[in-house]
Amino acid sequence: MREVKKSVPKKDSYGLIRGKPVYTDDIAPRDSLIVKVLRSPHAFARIKSIDTSEALTMSGVELVLTYKDVPRKPITRAGQGYPEPSPYDKFILDEYVRYVGDEVAVVAAKDERTAEEALKKIKVEYDVLEPVLDFEKAEGNPSVIHPEDDIFPQFDIGFDPKRNIAASYEMEIGDVDEIIKECEEDPDCVVVKDRFYTQAQAHVMLEPHASFAYIDMSGRLVIVTSTQTPFHVRRQVSMVLGIPIKDIRVIKPRIGGGFGGKQALHGELIVSLVTWKTKKPAKLVYTRREVFEATYTRHPSRFDVTLAATKDGKLRAIAYDVLWDTGAYGEHALTTLMVAGSKTLPMYNKVDGVRFRGKVVYTNHVPAGAYRGYGAIQGNFALESAMDILAEKLGMDPVELRLKNIIREGETSPIFKIMGEGREGTDMIIKSCKLEQAIRRGAEIINWEKKFRKREKRGSKVKGVGMAIAMQGSGIANIDMGSAIIKLNDDGSFNLLVGATDLGTGSDTILAQIAAEVLGVSTDDIIVYSSDTDLTPFDAGAYASSTTYVSGNAVRIAAEKMKKLIIEEGARKLGLGPEEVEFDGKVIRAKDGSKEVTLKELATVRYYTEDQKQLIADGSFVGPESPPPYAATFVEVEVDTETGKVDVLKYVSILDIGTPINPALARIQAEGGAVQGIGMALYEDVKYSSSGKLLTNNLMYYKIPSRLDVPDIHVEFLESYEPTGPFGAKSVAEIGIDTPPAAIANAVYDAIGVRIKSLPLTPEKVFFAMKK
């Protein structure tokens, strides 16, 4: 391979580092109306009256909108494929406000100050309602967060809003209760039952959500937005505002990070509404406070995990009972819940019985949504902590317990077929899985055998080691599609047009590498244009670890077609049959060496002088399966027994991602994921006041890892080849984040014998647990 498995710089790197104006707010028209949103000060209230007259009379105020001025049409802002597995339970503006930060009114004004002044002039009287702030008390609570009757799911998702349930799901293979009962009664068996909690985490992509809209010369609505899903944005704006899809164009410029937080629509609907009404350009850039208060968090969760195993360490049954907090709206409620099972349970595929039961409840908190890991990280913390507890009970090394039970190449799990994303899944035989090798390699690097249960002391500090394994997916099988178009230019270069959405990961570059590899050309000869609904073909978007595998396969197919076309046209030019020539990326040559034409000559001829035609090819791909990448992570921590502070000394993660198309970019994904996961494990925590107001609404109160918080991280990719992936590739975006919480919690137990079952592992929590 020449262009693949090569660390070429990102195509946009020079522009980005030099600070070129390429993000949404940088390129918004100078005369844009500035849009601001009045947000609810109450966790739950009904708007009794709202008076905008004073704001409207202010000079420079163009428009004020309340729920009375917008179409009442239930939607989901989730940014998923259609029909979405998330309930249609949100209105652009509503008479109910369901969390502190929910939209009350929209102002568009000539400048920022006027808009902010106008917000203050809107008089709202609220009928304050009793909020539901404890997700364990949400189900059946007398306070019904969604009392309205016009909300609905697209299909059965276990939606029961009158009981504050956004979605629910159950499945069982084998008779799990019977197996557990047998094991409880059998002295040769061990049963572990434990409860775990995970917290809300904030994405904190550096670029706040930003969108602007304008009307183009033919009267169409153009939306430029920092989104992961331009095609879903187009569809949803069309649906809510009743503007035909053909009259909407969505453009994604460069994006300052997303991590799932920009999968959904946030400002897009509002700027579209303002521009459509005023016919003027309008811009909405979220403040950091708004990003915290009024976008998304990770879903907080409670897991009751039961494991049953024989004394020799064979897992017999796994059962999860899960409670999931979706906050005020049910975006990604069902699917994140299901991923907590579908992307953890198959790791231990040799069980006799497995059960998953889960409910997603509404609360009056900031809505939860898609966030890197997407349920798997929550499930991973619960399962991999429980596995550690089981190993202890069995008197078995946790490494050995994993090795006895993990999934291997050529195997399957019934879960793949039963649990998909919001619906039934897809059967698959695992064709690439280096999990065993990853575990063995990680154990070797961390020096597991020398360190496990050794509890080396240094003053008040004690060292410990812990491990966890994980799997993720590569796109959503049989649902999400990616496509690509390649066209040849008259200098022999190619335009690659993809709907895929590079949100900073470098996917434009790796897609170019895939095309270049197929065509035998240099990545420099592939010019990428992505994510513009007028000019690029459809792609579901950048989520679910899909771009390399799904969009990458679409690019591979398009490039293969282009190669065939070049060979056909080249052969025709040479007066030969296609089977009589070969193409090396530069020259189409007769196999007998008798004659040749360069690609550049061929293109020039075809565009200017002879049998003129455009050489163009397309490719579409929807994954027939979603091959999982795997990780085995080993950490060494040091716990200060005087303060409870946990320091990660060494972090070793061995990954099977198939072929890394661009090893440098893959490494950054794995390292960046690890650091986000370490943040979640140790201190990141979205916190509310007793009345439901977000306390962690800026970067001083919500701490993300700084460079001094980053431990010694060792990331390694195993040689692995996924036959269904482009050049053997699977995904890398999410797998890196899954393991830190469980691995670190297990290491803390190894160090001090204290099991922390709720995240994050703050010094305070560790300290008080030690004192118990």
Binding site: S7, P9, K10, D12, S13, Y14, G15, L16, I17, R18, G19, K20, P21, V22, Y23, D25, D26, H203, V204, M205, L206, E207, P208, R254, I255, G256, G257, F259, V285, T287, R288, R289, L503, G504, T505, G506, N662, A664, L665, R667, I668, E671, G672, G673, A674, V675, Q676, N698, L699, M700, I704, P705, S706, R707, L708, V710, I713
Partner: protein, 153 residues
């Protein structure tokens, strides 16, 4: 009110409001490498040099800049070619939103090391750059590039 500032080597006269922050004025005047990300002076994305020293432009009133010299990422990019290459070859700019602010800071750090004000070792470099947050890279790729650029062993 009017201020006169020297931006990237060129004197400019700007009409500003006394309550304007430097960040907003710079962006208004087209210096769009200066990013707004946190609103609280916490993330470093808006870092510029004032008279050669790093400052968070979101927390500096433009009115106090009269007569001062301001340098943004646009003004040093050509000089920082080698650093840009190092960062790009690690793929560590990722989304790039924090990159211009970080580049300004690395530029200042290089000068400080040359002047003997900051030690040339990993710990000192990390400490100097602690205020530049990044959510994509996990910092390690950035640091590989920065250490290489500064010759930190």
């Amino acid at each position: 009110m009017k201020i006169k500032v020297k931006v990237n080597g060129e004197w400019k006269e700007w009409e500003i409001d006394p309550s304007d922050y430097l960040l907003d004025v710079l962006r208004r005047e087209g210096y769009l490498s200066v990013k707004r990300a946190c609103d609280t002076g916490t993330c470093g994305a808006c870092t510029v040099l004032v008279d050669g020293f790093p400052a968070l432009s979101c927390s500096v009133l433009a009115a106090t800049m009269d007569g001062h010299e301001i340098t943004t990422a646009e003004g040093i990019a050509d000089e920082m070619e080698e650093y840009i290459k190092a960062l790009a070859s690690e793929g560590a700019e990722q989304c790039g939103f924090c990159s211009p602010g970080l580049m300004v800071m690395v530029y200042a750090l290089k000068k400080e090391i040359e002047n003997g004000k900051v030690e040339k070792n990993e710990e000192a470099v990390k400490r100097y750059l602690i205020g530049n947050l990044c959510r994509c890279s996990g910092y390690l790729g950035q640091q590989r590039a920065i250490f290489k650029f500064l010759g930190v062993k």
